[in-house]
């Protein structure tokens, strides 16, 4: 019963939403809308509870000497820096202080973290060469060929390399990516069907 009830609920909700997609019926549409709204409310409540759990966790870490106190203090101060002005100001999340924190701190921090991708590519390549030299060699070789072909060269050489780069991107690269995408899409559709029809034991 503990396992069958969630499975039955998943099947029922899935079938109602599926039917609403296929059949135009006012009663069915209102039922589907109500279910979607319920899901949105549940997710919002889960987000609030998640934030509370995060604050409690790091509050406890500040109290315990063995944990990373500085990191936890930074997390708590960061949460407070967004939450307190947002709660105090009448504009809420659109308050200037909140917008400043987001625009002047969060966005640059995120951009600088993503910029690390370029730097971490080198140790990633080294690690790949150590673990699987043949496959990583092919991967890096293909990347090097593409880089050379995409160099901004002029004249007849530039025309040839540009045309070769275009062909590589349009035919083999796009073909491989399309194949992977089709495979992933079919697998996703089959898994979704299994969930909707209660065949996937996601609670196993």
């Amino acid at each position: 019963m503990r396992r069958s009830l969630p499975a039955v609920l998943v099947v029922l909700v899935g079938l109602v939403l599926l039917l609403d997609l296929l059949v135009a019926n006012p009663t069915l549409a209102s039922l589907a809308d109500a279910l979607v709204e319920l899901v949105v409310i549940l997710f919002a409540a889960a987000a609030v509870l998640g934030a509370v759990a995060l604050a409690v966790r790091h509050g406890r870490a500040v109290a315990l000497p063995a944990d990373d106190r500085i990191g936890s203090v930074v997390v708590l101060v960061g949460m407070a820096a967004v939450l307190v002005p947002g709660l105090l100001a009448p504009e809420g999340a659109a308050a200037p202080a909140v917008r400043w924190v987001v625009g002047a701190l969060l966005v640059p921090l995120g951009a600088s973290l993503l910029a690390l991708v370029v730097i971490f590519l080198v140790p990633a390549a080294r690690r790949g060469m150590r673990a699987r030299p043949a496959e990583t060699g092919v991967l890096l070789g293909a990347a090097c060929v593409m880089l050379v072909l995409l160099l901004p060269l002029g004249g007849a050489v530039g025309d040839v390399t540009g045309a070769a780069a275009d062909w590589l991107l349009a035919v083999p690269v796009r073909g491989v990516l399309a194949g992977l995408l089709v495979g992933a899409a079919i697998a996703t559709a089959v898994f979704a069907a299994r969930v909707v029809f209660g065949l996937a034991n996601v609670d196993d």
């Binding site: 993503l114 990633a124 690690r127 992933a184 898994f191 996601v202 196993d204």
Partner: protein, 279 residues
């Protein structure tokens, strides 16, 4: 003494005679429909077991070794559920991955529970954290190791994709083996690099093909694209399910061969029904 060619020729003739002597009871359309329904249902329901397959997708069979190394070193295992979540504003295909990989999480959590290795699961979605927590709880219950449950941990690291990546890079705690299953985006290289820092590396699975290069560079074992969903079938099933899948696959091969022969016969100007012995 007949030579090999004559033997094969007689065999083919005998099979052809057998087919020629047969007829369909229900007609072509109902028979094909029934076969398709049965084959599709079998494909959907049955799941093969990793004990019987010859390949090892994602090097999942090495999870036990990784956990043994972690147990020897007194270290932890880290697992990330990706950055797509369940209740986050990401695409439905990405969020479905988070739900789809729960059997893999359960598989890893069981291996960790058996080996006595604390597992640290991180996610940027509170609903995914709840699901992972239930998986860890169930794993300890199933392995009879509830007393070790408190050593493992499921953490909601905060909203957004970058906290997960930053935390994976910045954690100083020694870990021997890492895992990442689920949807990722441009932060994938950072997230995977942090998780793969231990001596056993990281087993990575995602259906986001745009991130395939990061995964292939960093992962000890990788599940890319449809492999992620296929691997679910390999982690834990019963023997009869495996048998059903093998039977299904063979039936599909036979069906494809017969259809191909009929098509070739038709292209050559023959009547496919005469080839199949249908009247």
């Amino acid at each position: 003494m007949p030579n090999l060619g004559e033997l094969v020729g007689r065999l083919v003739t005998w099979i052809g005679d057998l087919i020629n002597d047969s007829s369909l009871r229900l007609g072509i359309a109902p028979t094909v429909s029934l076969l398709v329904v049965v084959l599709v249902l079998l494909s959907l329901v049955a799941r093969p077991s990793s004990r019987w397959i010859t390949r090892d997708p994602g090097r999942l069979s090495g999870i036990g070794r990784g956990m043994a190394l972690a147990a020897e070193a007194g270290a932890t295992a880290a697992l990330s559920l990706g950055t797509a979540g369940v209740a986050r504003a990401s695409s439905a295909a990405e969020r479905l991955q988070t739900i789809a990989v729960l059997p893999l999480v359960d598989h890893v959590a069981r291996a960790a529970a058996r080996a006595g290795v604390p597992i640290r699961i991180s996610t940027d979605d509170p609903v995914a954290a709840l699901l992972a927590d239930a998986a860890v709880e169930a794993a300890h219950g199933a392995t009879g190791t509830r007393e070790r449950r408190r050593r493992s941990d499921v953490e909601f690291v905060g909203e957004g994709r970058l906290p997960s990546a930053g935390l994976a890079l910045g954690v100083e705690e020694g870990r021997v083996t890492g895992f990442m299953f689920g949807g990722v985006a441009e932060e994938s290289l950072l997230l995977v690099h942090g998780l793969a820092d231990g001596p056993d590396g990281a087993r990575i699975g995602t259906a986001d093909v745009a991130q395939a290069s990061s995964v292939l560079l960093e992962g000890t074992g990788t599940l890319v694209g449809a492999d992620l969903f296929a691997a679910l079938a390999d982690v834990r099933t019963t023997g009869h399910a495996r048998t059903a899948v093998m039977a299904t696959n063979r039936l599909i091969v036979v069906a494809v061969l017969v259809i191909g022969m009929a098509a070739a016969w038709a292209l050559a100007g023959g009547d496919p029904r005469s080839l199949l012995g249908l009247r």
